[in-house]
């Protein structure tokens, strides 16, 4: 009995391996000729449509331009799991798996969810020639800096000042920050709030903190949105129409915008600014025809806002941060490999970003650890020019952020 067990098992395994092997050999031969076109490959890891659509569209943009590896192009695009917090193993092996391709020269992960650092470490151990770039790092700055060759985050420090500064320029006298305890326990969000508060004080704007329900709690997304819908008119009445609102949660953004258009008040930019963030839902417009074409999207959103009397009160980044970051980091990696750019040179990085955001300017700086005062040379914080609907770019990249805000905690 025991023997027959092994005999049958061996037989099946052997058969399986044989068929597998045959398929491998067949497959290996075919694409070789096509591949000749691409000199090297770039690996891109993003979330799926259900997790973070913009990131994924950025990767598709790259594929459109440079072709996918399967078709002899340069871009090898994979996704990390939807429930990435639980399935870290898969994230790691997805990243490490890219390094298995001998032609792989750079890996871009956007967003760099937990597990990216470990994936990068493992790639480094084997292939230290691969350039590793983390977009919108979730892990602690010091952690991701230790493994990535270049890490990018949205500049929560500068924006902490610039959003208030922009509001001031628009004549706002009160700034309402809507969030909840869980978000305030995030290092970046908590610190940005502190900077908001300090900047408001310095610029003479009243800072108000309002709490809204956490959509991941028992009230759910619907309950949290309902709360915002009901609360905003009261807030506008209480603080006046010269009030700018800001919320940290994506789910809150849509009802907030909807009510602000109706009842008045300002919205400088979202936590993760994009013309697609909140606006399509709040305005009830269909943007499927404009998919991926951000100038067109912006134009449509802007005209709708103007029609509804919101000109000059609603802002965003003209190009989605997630979309641009995926595409720009891929482009930047290529520039570096081609010898056209230097990896850690800010102007070269901006060159890549600007390619995908014609008209919008970017700025940024290196990340400085508040605790030790050490400036990381491979961690860049960036931000895009704020675009106010009906008003145009606000020129935030040209504003100098006073030094003191970099040490606010």
């Amino acid at each position: 009995m025991k023997k027959s067990f092994f005999r049958v098992f061996l037989l099946i395994t052997a058969m399986a391996v044989l068929t597998g092997g045959m398929l491998i050999s067949c497959k290996k031969e075919a694409p070789k000729d096509e591949k000749a076109g691409a000199a090297y490959h770039i690996g891109v890891v993003t979330g799926t449509v259900s997790q973070s659509e913009d990131d994924l569209r950025g990767a598709e943009r790259l594929i459109e331009e440079y072709g996918s590896v399967a078709e002899g192009g340069m871009i090898q695009h994979v996704t990390y799991p939807d429930n990435f917090m639980q399935e870290m193993e898969t994230t790691i092996s997805q990243i490490v798996g890219l390094a298995d391709d001998p032609m792989m020269k750079a890996i871009v992960v956007n967003q760099a969810i937990p597990g990216t650092t470990e994936g990068f470490r493992r790639v480094k151990e084997k292939r230290d020639d691969i350039i590793l770039i983390a977009g919108e790092a979730h892990e602690d700055p010091l952690v991701i800096e230790s493994a990535a060759d270049l890490a990018i985050n949205s500049d929560f420090v500068s924006r902490g000042y610039l959003i208030i500064d922009t509001a001031k320029k628009l004549g706002v006298d009160t700034f309402v920050h809507i969030s909840f305890p869980r978000h305030m326990s995030y290092e970046t969000l908590g610190r940005r709030r502190a900077i908001f508060e300090a900047a408001c004080k310095d610029l003479g704007i009243k800072f108000v903190f309002e709490t809204a329900p956490d959509p991941t709690s028992d009230v759910g997304v619907a309950g949290a949105q309902q709360f915002i819908l009901e609360k905003v008119p009261a807030w506008v009445a209480k603080y006046g129409k010269n009030t700018a609102f800001f919320c940290t949660n994506d789910a809150h953004t849509e009802p907030l915008l909807k009510q602000l258009i109706e009842y008045g008040g300002y919205f400088i930019e979202a936590d993760l600014p994009s013309p697609l963030m909140g606006y399509p839902g709040a305005l009830g417009i269909d943007l499927s025809a404009e998919k991926g074409d951000f100038p067109a999207i912006l134009a449509k959103v802007e005209s709708t806002i103007k029609d509804k009397g919101g000109a000059g009160r609603f802002g965003t980044w003209a190009y989605s941060y997630g979309y641009t970051t995926t595409a720009a980091l891929g482009q930047h990696a290529m520039n570096v490999i081609n010898g056209e750019s230097e990896l850690l040179k800010m102007s070269d990085l901006m060159k890549a970003y600007n390619k995908y955001t014609p008209g919008a300017k970017w700025n940024g700086g290196f990340y400085t650890d508040v605790a030790t005062g050490v400036r990381a040379n491979n961690h860049v914080l960036i931000y895009q020019d704020t675009y106010m609907m009906g008003k145009g770019y606000m020129g935030t990249p040209d504003v100098t952020v006073p030094e003191k805000y970099f040490s606010v905690k």
Partner: protein, 369 residues
């Protein structure tokens, strides 16, 4: 005789349908994924190092007839709490790893004892009870770690406490003990690093399990696993023995989690343990084990097959369908689908075994002719 051979083959196919199914799917997905043998070999080694200890922790309760111990999640939590402490105290290297293991023991014993007590009240429904218990304890764990740590339980390190002063951060970086065991006795085969020390530790566990089976306690567990009533009638303290089996499993799961995380190097404080139970159990089932029968071989085969599937299916799916995210969906579909199949097959097999008694009856009749 011929009939007998045929029966054996059918029986073999039936009992090993899941691993065979996996081998076949992998055989087709492997070339599609386009990964090199070297990478896959490396990946299998890594997965074995990470997961095998956890999977082996499941064996004892199965032996004691308590089914698949979803309650191992409790042990994983205990291991994580040990890791939080050593990270806070900044204990690094092997020292830190073993200290985390020692710290997890009392907690594992407590949680295991509690779990065992509850499962004794839910005889026959152990699996679903332990599954729900895992959820329940996850809530308690979150309460302790998110609110208790830093306020009631002193945590000093800024790098793991949220800046609000209490609660542990979402992700704890385990650089201090990262791969400290794996790299203790490195052996390089080609480009693949074989973590000899970790394998040695796993081997020790295997030896322990084999040895344990031969002890009086092991014998009692086997007896209970086969028939609780008979064991009870012979004077074995069934309730106590079952609790002991769960405690041992929980403690081992705690160790396993420490080994798992020292390999990964980052701990998702609130999520790392969540899937550990599910994936370990899935791996064991894929290895051909069933709810009442599992061997060390099943664990090893299971880890290899299950994780190989996890490694290759996203790429295979992508190459098959042409879109990256569909690869991810394909992975989820295939992996979880096969787990469901293996559970369903188990139920069918159980029914089939019942029917076999009838077939034996019919056979007995024929022989007499």
């Amino acid at each position: 005789m011929l009939k007998n051979d045929k029966d054996n083959v059918i029986k073999f196919l039936e009992t090993n349908l899941v691993p065979i199914l996996f081998v076949i799917i992998i055989a087709f997905a492997l070339p599609l994924s386009g990964f090199s043998v070297r990478y896959l070999f490396n990946e299998i080694i890594v997965r074995l190092v990470r997961n095998l200890f956890l999977v082996l922790a499941l064996l004892l309760p199965i032996m004691a007839g308590m089914g698949l111990n979803f309650g191992m999640v409790l042990g994983a939590m205990a291991g994580e709490i040990g890791l939080i402490f050593i990270t806070d105290w900044n204990i690094t290297g092997l020292h830190g790893m073993f200290l985390a293991m020692i710290l997890s023991i009392p907690l594992s014993i407590l949680l295991g004892w509690m779990c065992g007590k509850i499962l004794n009240r839910a005889k026959g429904r152990e699996m679903v009870t332990s599954y729900i218990l895992g959820f329940f304890m996850n809530g308690v764990y979150q309460l302790v770690v998110l609110y208790g740590m830093g306020s009631v339980i002193p945590i000093a390190s800024d790098s793991i406490v949220l800046s609000r002063g209490y609660g542990i951060r979402n992700a704890v970086n385990l650089t201090g003990i990262r791969q400290s065991l794996d790299k203790l006795l490195p052996l390089k085969i080609g480009t693949t690093l074989i973590p000899v020390a970790t394998f040695a530790l796993i081997a020790v566990l295997c030896v322990f399990i084999i040895w344990f089976r031969r002890t009086k306690l092991g014998q009692d567990m086997r007896a209970i696993g086969q028939d609780m009533a008979v064991a009870e009638a012979s004077g074995i303290d069934v309730a106590r023995t079952r609790i002991i089996s769960i405690i041992i499993s929980t403690v081992l799961a705690g160790f396993g989690m420490v080994i798992y995380l020292q390999n990964i190097g980052t701990m998702n404080t609130y999520n790392s343990h969540e899937q550990v139970g599910m994936f370990s159990i899935a791996a064991l089932l894929v290895g051909g084990a069933s709810v009442n029968r599992a061997k060390i071989g099943n664990a090893i085969l299971g880890v290899v097959l299950f994780h190989l599937m996890f490694v290759i299916s996203p790429m295979a799916g992508k190459n098959l369908i042409g879109q990256a995210q569909l690869g991810e969906y394909f992975r989820v579909f295939v992996s979880y689908g096969v787990i469901s199949i293996s559970l369903v097959l188990y139920a069918i097999r159980k029914q089939r075994d019942k029917a076999r008694a009838g077939i034996a009856l019919a056979d007995a009749q024929e022989v007499r002719d």
